[in-house]
Structures are given as structure tokens and as C-alpha cells.
Symmetry: D2
């Protein structure tokens, strides 16, 4: 039974803690959060204790940590946990600064512990099946990856300011998926973007609508679009075109109900947001982390993957400012 300390008792923390509780191979021993009340509520729900970070990391019974606290704490907690010999599962991003990420990667390598970065989409059953289809040669060599990714509603301006911007905060998931599905590293990034959804986002120095193109050394392309708004719910679709065919994965709907009448045939909307859409992905991600912690698997999304996605996000920022393709 792996005993776990979780940092962060917020929305995504509640998901991970619930998945630990439901898993027969792990138990949640500690919850750490600067918001003491949130920590206590989550700990009480799962029979865990609230402690300070140092105490948790000093406890030899703790074999692994889950870092679901705010972004600015990620790199520190990864380093401290790694130095304490704990296996680490940390939400994306590692950090918003590449320099800080590099230091963190070095510390992790020195500590020699496995670190899983929470790019949850790779664990979505449909996207995982899509990847298997590619690996099984069902579409032939990949030529073009198309990713559509839209949030149902724009985030609050306060969040926008600390988010690192759309490319580092939102599209970073799509950069990870593109790298994974292209099967080659992108060497060139071009970004075009606008503020069309919410002027407050523009006032905060960010964009809310974007189209980005990636190219690999052999010429494979990825076309990614993002928007902070989709009135019909969370829109998460991927198409991978290869020499032999195309494999795609679409949205899950709330129900399968359709109403046919004089106005047309109306079906249900996609699931509303990431908590619903990726509920299965989060369960599979935790199960994978337990395999990693047990030494039976390597992290599907390593800290190096976290670094590589951030590098693409930085290139996108640079491209947008310079109106030209940026080499990576």
C-alpha cells in the first residue's frame, strides 16, 4: 500500500485525492495546503491528516507525493520531494520560467526519482486509443495533426494574470499532445492570436483565440487552434492524418438523446468541462503513477516532456510578437 502526501486541496486536488481513496493500492496519509480549512475538509473526507510540508516529506512512510498546489509552488515542491526520495506526480506546468524548469530538471535527475507531469489528456481513453492506432501503423507515417481545443468559458482576469498566458497555460496541453502524436520533435513554431472573447483578457496582456502551426524536421505539420470560449461546452478534438488514413477522436456528449422534429435533429452537447470530460483520464493517470511509483513503468509524461511543451509555448509567444516562425 503506497502512502501518499498531497500538496493542494483545491478543485483538481479533490479529484486526485478521490482517485487515491478509490484505488486499492494507495492511501492518502497527508494533505498539505496553505488554506488550512480546505486541507482539513479534504483530509477529513478521506481519513488523512493535515500537516506541514516538512513533516510530510520527513516521514519515511510516505512513498510518493501528488503536487496539485498553485503553479508557483510546483518547482520547489518537486525539488524538495525529489531530494527526500519521494516519487512525484505534479500537475502541469513545472514552472512558467524556463530557467526555473531547467534547474528543476537538473535537481530531479540528481535525485534519481521518477517524476510524472500531469498531462492528463494522454490518459483519456479515446486519445490513448488514437495513439495506439498510430503506433499500430493504422494510419501509416503521420503527416498532419489537427487539434481543436476550446474552453467553455474564459477564465477570470485575476487568473489570466498569473497563468503565464494562453500558450503556457492552455495550449501547453496541445503542445504536449502534438509532440506525442507527431512522433517527432517540432523544430519550428508559428503563432497567430487575438483577443476576441473578453477585452479583460487583452487588458491583462493575453490573447484568447489562437492558431498555431508546428513543423518537424522531416516536415510533419501540426495545426492547433484554441479559444477560451465555446458556448456548447468543452471542445477537445484531434485528427491525425497519415499516408494510409486518418484517425480521429472527438467529444463525449452528456447523453445520447436526440430530438428530431420540424426544427431539425438536436443532440446533446459535449461534456461541459475538464472535470467531467477527463474524469476517466484522471483515474487512469493516477493508476499509471502508482505503476511508476512501484517501478513497473516509466512516466508516460516526464519532467522533460513538461520542459519541451513549455519550450514550444515560449516559441509561440516569441512568434506572436515577431510575426514570424521561430526555430526551436
Amino acid at each position: 500500500m503506497l502512502e501518499i502526501c498531497q500538496f493542494g486541496a483545491g478543485r483538481i486536488g479533490a479529484i486526485h485525492a478521490g482517485n487515491v481513496a478509490a484505488h486499492p493500492g494507495a492511501t492518502l496519509r497527508y494533505v498539505v495546503d496553505v488554506d488550512r480549512k480546505a486541507a482539513e475538509a479534504l483530509a477529513a473526507k478521506h481519513g488523512a491528516q493535515v500537516v506541514e510540508a516538512d513533516a510530510a516529506l520527513a516521514d519515511p512512510r510516505i512513498g510518493a507525493v501528488i503536487i496539485a498546489s498553485s503553479t508557483d509552488t510546483h518547482a520547489d515542491l518537486i525539488e524538495r520531494s525529489a531530494r527526500a526520495g519521494k516519487r512525484v506526480f505534479c500537475e502541469k506546468p513545472v514552472d512558467l520560467s524556463m530557467k526555473r524548469v531547467d534547474a528543476c530538471v537538473a535537481a530531479v535527475r540528481a535525485a534519481g526519482v521518477p517524476v510524472l507531469i500531469g498531462f492528463n489528456r494522454r490518459f483519456d481513453p479515446s486519445f490513448a486509443a488514437l495513439k495506439r492506432a498510430i503506433d499500430d501503423g493504422r494510419v501509416g507515417p503521420v503527416e498532419l495533426v489537427q487539434i481543436t481545443s476550446r474552453d467553455p468559458n474564459p477564465p477570470p482576469p485575476a487568473y489570466v494574470k498569473v497563468s503565464g498566458g494562453l500558450f503556457r497555460d492552455m495550449m501547453i496541453h496541445d503542445f504536449d499532445m502534438a509532440r506525442w502524436l507527431l512522433g517527432e520533435e517540432p523544430v519550428e513554431v508559428f503563432a497567430s492570436a487575438s483577443c476576441l472573447v473578453d477585452p479583460a483578457i487583452g487588458a491583462a496582456g493575453d490573447v484568447d483565440t489562437a492558431a498555431v502551426t508546428l513543423r518537424t524536421a522531416s516536415g510533419r505539420l501540426a495545426a492547433i487552434t484554441n479559444s477560451r470560449r465555446a458556448s456548447y461546452g468543452y471542445d477537445q478534438r484531434i485528427e491525425v492524418h497519415g499516408a494510409k488514413g486518418c484517425v480521429s477522436a472527438g467529444n463525449r456528449t452528456e447523453t445520447t438523446v436526440a430530438l428530431a422534429d420540424a426544427g431539425g435533429v438536436t443532440g446533446a452537447k459535449p461534456l461541459h468541462f475538464f472535470l467531467e470530460r477527463y474524469a476517466e483520464a484522471y483515474r487512469a493517470e493516477l493508476a499509471h503513477f502508482l505503476e511508476v511509483a512501484a517501478g513497473r513503468a516509466k512516466p508516460l509524461t516526464s519532467i522533460e516532456d513538461g520542459r519541451a511543451a513549455l519550450r514550444l509555448a515560449e516559441a509561440a509567444v516569441e512568434s506572436l510578437a515577431g510575426r514570424r516562425a521561430v526555430a526551436v
Copy 2:
């Protein structure tokens, strides 16, 4: 916190016990099963105790029972539980004999406790949404209900012999759905059926492929088809046609992945069987039972509903033998 005793530790029992464990408003105290080992395994998993039925029913801390044991024990356990003042959630069917069901209904009425019969499909999110669309007048007055219901594989002959036959065992779910969706009681039943899937089923005196027509007093129709085989997985679809339109609910697929190539466009199969397809329905059913047990809701599927569905199954058997419509 409602304390529950569950009778039956088999496949469906594991589902219900798991849902009780995951629900914040209930706890599983006792598990009862003639298979002591199965009882102990399930009890251990959820921190419950294995006891005999009498002891469980005599314990005043037990507020409710879940009956998931074999069909021939249902009526007895309903009666004993009702007499002991426990709220009851019993898997379908109440019994295979109408006489026994009538006695059981009388006993339940005398005891004055609520009894929920496990017609799980009414709790499926898509079928529930379909019913709401009807109740909201979206299709106008109902004229025709079409139900397609197919199991992925035929049951073993040993099960067929004690099952009561396809109409009482399998189509009874569809009879319940038809009654619910027609909004009127069927007054006439016609059944046509064959043994096409497995000769062993025919040797056991049963059929495996069936088409049944129901008619209500005002002339509303239901057309139900059943098969014990569907190579592509569990097939559970309903269409309701009314004066203003049609509302339908279909199958959930394993993934949303589609492969387009020279051979066509191939998508995923429906979820394979009832445990996967109706996982959400079982959760919603348990939540409803807790509302019923708390006196905040009436059973959506009462013991009288269980009786009415069995009555239609009996009429179907009679119709098949006599090759004529049977009045109900």
C-alpha cells in the same frame, strides 16, 4: 448515515455494495450470502460483516436492505425485510410466479414500507433524459415506442432453465420501459419468437430472438425486439415517436475514435455489457433508493411496477403459444 444489509454477493451485488461504499449518505454493515466465501470477500472489501439473514433483520440499526441474491429468494426476503420494517431495494424480478408476486405485494402493503424494484434502465442518464423530453411535451402525445434490446452473448443453458425464459428474464426490462414511456397501460400483447442463436436455448424450452407488440387502450403502440446475441456489444436503443417529433437514445461507445481509410470509416463498438453500460444508472438508482429510504421520494419503480411487467411477460408467453394477441 443509513446502515444497510445486502443480500447477495455476486456480480450485481458487487456493483451495489461499491455504490453504497462510495455514497456519503450510506454505509454497508452486513453482507448475507449462502456462498460464505463470496460474502466474506465482499464484506472485507467494504468493512462490513458477514451475518445470517435473521440477525441482520433483527438489528435495529439496519434501516434498509438491498436484495441482490438469486431470483427464487427475492419474494421471501422482501416479505421478511418488510415485516422487519426495513426499506427494501430488490433486484428484478420479484418472482417468476404471479401468485407469489401477488402475495408479496400484499405483504409489502401490509407492512407499509417502501420497496424499490431494480429496473435500472429508468435511471440511465440518456433514458431518463428521453423520459423528461416526453414529459416536457417535446414530442407531443406519444404514438409509438420502439425498443431494441440485445445481449452480446447468450446465457449458459443452466441459467436459461431457471431464468423464467426470455420474456420474464430479459424482455421484462423492456416491458417496464414501454409502460413508462407509453404513459398508458398496455391492454394487448402479441409475441413472435424463435430459437436462432443457440439450439441449447431451444432445448431448454426457451427462445432467443423475439418481436413483441403492445397496444394501449387509446391505441398507442410499442414494438420491442430482443436477441440474446449481438456481436458488436450490448445494444440498447429506444425511440419514442409522438405527434410533434421523435426522441431517441442510443448506445454509448467504448471510445470516440474513428479510423477513416480505404475500407471506410470505422468507429468504436457499443459498451460491451450491462455492467459498463449501466454503471451510471446503478449509481443513480442507489442514490434514488437513499432518497426513498429517507422518505424524500417515492420509488420510481415500485413493486406494483414489478408486477405489471411480469404480467406483460406472462401474456407474451401465452401469446407465443397461442399465436394470437392476448388481452391484459
Copy 3:
């Protein structure tokens, strides 16, 4: 170049005449209709002449006739044309009376000319592909055929009175499809039906909503539903379930446009009625007739097929009256 005389210049006549005109292997020489004005308009459009039936049938240049006049003229015109040695393409039904049909069949056999009966659905590209899939063994031995067939709007009461009723007028198409797809002759028919759409239909002695079950000697089943109303357009769907799988064919929509917004995802309706839905089928049917007329093919839908479908319609009428299955 096959020279053709067409009887009937109404709605369906215009379709056939247009298809003759567009076909490089045939030309429309004569149009015959009791409505002289309609005949002249259609003839003018395609460079044909208006004549009386006798003159047309006496003209040795006429190699084939198309009978698209009112139902009560079909049998006479088939017989007269056959006796004149013309190849015949006649709209369904041959006649509403079985006795009259039998006489007509005898006359056709005596004349030895090929007669194609216009069961257009067999020529629909999707239904034809579905049949090929069955014949290619893609679903294994057929077990159950499900046919949903709904008109967009009820016919005028005046038409209902001369139509022969829903079973002979509308479901006769589905009886033909069921026979074709079952691959065996039905030996038993059960019909349930109501008047729910338009009281004027009931007043005319007919029904407008029906569910019919067919059974073959080996136990294969067909479940057919019909309605004279579908607010969302012409609804024509077929599913064929076999031991190895299921093949289905659905509706064509007006466009592929879908609108996703806060109200759901709304797509286009099915094509509105038979003229649009079966436009391709009518073209393929005419092309097939020209092959038949040239002696290169046998009629896919012979006069015997017309008789067999009528026999099922009669059995349905008898079943509805007697509330029992009727042997065929």
C-alpha cells in the same frame, strides 16, 4: 434506342419521363393520360406525343411501356401491354384485389414478356448496398429485420378511400423489402394498428400507425412500423441483424450542416419525401428496366413479387381484424 410509351403524367410520371429523357439508351415517344392537359405538358417537355392507349400499343416502334397511371388502371394496362408484346414497367401495386392480380399474373405469363414492378426502394443505393452486404455474408444468416417507415404527412382522406388502406398502399413497400432482406418467405403475419394521426383516416376506415411482425418457416423475424406522420421528414430506415453482425441504412439529410450552441448540437432533417429521398433510386430503377427490356437482366421486382407483397398486406388486414397471427 428503346422507344417508350408512358401511361400517366402525374407526379411520379414526371419523374420517370425525366429519367427516360436523361438516359442515352431510351426516348419517350408517347404520353397517355386521361388528363389531356397534363399529358400535353409532359409530352411537350420531352418532345413526345400525346396519343390514345390503343394507338400507342399498336405502334410497333414502341418497345416498352411505363405505367404510372392510377392504381385501378394498372392491371388492365399491364395485360394489354403484355399482349401487345411490350416490355412493362408498372408502378406498385398491380391491383388491390388478389383475384385481379392473379389474372394479371396469368396473362403476363401467357404473353411471356418481362414485367418490372416499381418497388423503388430496392434500387436505393444505400438499401442496395445493405442487400449486397447480406449477400456477401457480412452479417451471417439473417435473424431479424427491423424496418421503420414514416411519411412526413398524412394523405388526404379522398386518397385514403381509394388507396386500399395503409397495409396495401404504404406498408406494401416494407413487405417487399422484408421479403427481399429476410431471404425467406414469411409464413405468418401479425398486425397491430391504430388511428392516432388523423381522425379522418379512421373515418375512412383506415389506420395511420401500425406495427407488424412477420415470421418465416425457419423462424426469422421482421418487425415493421409505419406511421403517416413524421414532423422531421420522410423516415426510412432498415436494420438487418444476423449471427455475425448488423447492417443498417438510414436517412439522407438535406445538408451536412450542424449548429452547436448552448441549446445542443442541431443537424439537418432527413430529406422531406420520396421524390427527394428516392431520386437516385428512380434513376437506377429506370436503368434496370432498360437492361430488362434489352434482355440483359431479369426484373429485380417481378409481378410475382408484387403479388407476394399484396398477399402479406391482405394477411395484415385479416390479422388486424382478428387480433391473431395469420398464416400465409
Copy 4:
């Protein structure tokens, strides 16, 4: 009755000539082609005559011309026809050189005759319905247009050499659609592209796989992807995202048949190529041209639209070479 002279008797010429022949308001009088045999065959089929261009343009009975000859003849024929006072329907592109196009535009303006450029996709029923949905405000202000456009097979190298390249030859259609659907002129173009499908295309100096981003002055974006290969048939899809929702239009399939079995659920492929997919569009385009010729409509796709699309193609070429966004 509008009398028409058609230049070009090849594949697309046959489509247009057939549509003229089938239209009650027009007749094909002349066919002109350097390939005399092709001209004679097409003329014979529709009762037209083969003449030289001068003779046709000098004939006052000719009210309109259709230019479906090779690209390098378009501009000359447009100018000569315009000077002769004929209404013009010319296949895209006007020319591959912007200078030549500018001269042609000037000549057309001087002549004052209407010129329709054959951007057939605007006439596709689904794309036209999508545009109407936008114009009706169904998606709110447009924010992002996504266009996927893939040919089933790469063109022969000989064609590639004279085609002007993928951007001028293939994506020019998508540039036109993007302009039309964005509702604003793009002011910036970025292109990324590779040769992945056929090395012969690369040897001819062209690309076969491309992703292009357009941006308008107000920040609206379009993301276009092209490939010269799609094993599953012609792939032509558009999504338009706006503040209130998303409207999309997809592919038409060969049939509606689906086979469900142990391998999944397999449906038909998209229609194979442009002749099938856009058959209805070509008919509607011709009908629109007759309205234009009659003075009852303005060209939906004018010669200025042809120029604007070419301008975007040129910018894409420049962007690809310079790896930067190009202002238009």
C-alpha cells in the same frame, strides 16, 4: 433561352455542358476546344456545333460563354469575351500571374459585363447553408474559421508543373471560402508546408501538405490545412466558430450503410472526388450564372474575388519562402 458557347471540352467542361443541357433556360450552341475530337464528342452529345473562338464570339446570338479550357487561356478568353459583350462564367483561376489578372480585371471593368469565377464550393448546399447560418447571426460574430481540404490522390507531376503550385491551384478554393466566411479581408498570411505525399511533387518545386493561418484586421483567424492525399476520399470540411456557437459542414458519404460487428461499426467513405461531391454545387453555380446573365443577380464570385484569392495564394508562397507572416 440563353445561347451559350463553351470553351473547353474536358472533364469539367463535360459537367458544365451537361448542366446547360439539363437547364430549361439555356442551350449549348457552340463548343470550342483545341482538341477537335473532344470538342466534337461533347458537341454531338448536346446537339451543339464545333467552331473557332472568333466565330463564336462574333455570333450575336451567343449571350454568354463558359470558359472551362486550360488555365493559361482563361485571361485571354475572358477579355475577348468581355469585349464581345458576352456574359462570362470562367473556371478558377483567372490566371497564375497577378499582373495578368490585374489587366484582365481592368478589361472586364471597361467592358462592363458580368463575370462569374467558378469557385464552386460557395454553391455547395451545405456550405451555402453554413454561410446563411452565419449571416442569420446563428453563431454571432465570427472568430475562427477552420477548413480541412484534402484531395483523394496527388495529381500527376506534369500537372503539378503547370498548376501554379498547391496554394494557387488547390488552396485557392479555401482562400475564397475563408474570405467569404470570415466576413473580413485577411491582412496577414502565414504558410507552413512540406512534401510528404509524393517526392515527384517536391521535385517539381511544389508542396503537397500545408497548414496556413490567416488573420483579419479585427483579429479574426482562419486555419486551413491541405493535403494532396486522403485514402478515404475527398475530404472537405469547414467549421466556423463565433461568439454564440459553431456551425460546421462535413462530407457527404457514398451511402448511409453501417456494418456493426466484432470489429467495430464501419460506415461509408466520403464521396470520392469533386465531380461527385460538388455535382449539386455545379448545377447551382450554372443556375446562378443564368440569373447573372439575365441581369437578375450579381456574381456571387466576381473576378475581384478571383483576384483576392490569388493575392492570398501569392502571400502564402512568399510566407513559405521567408518563414514569416506576410502582410496582404
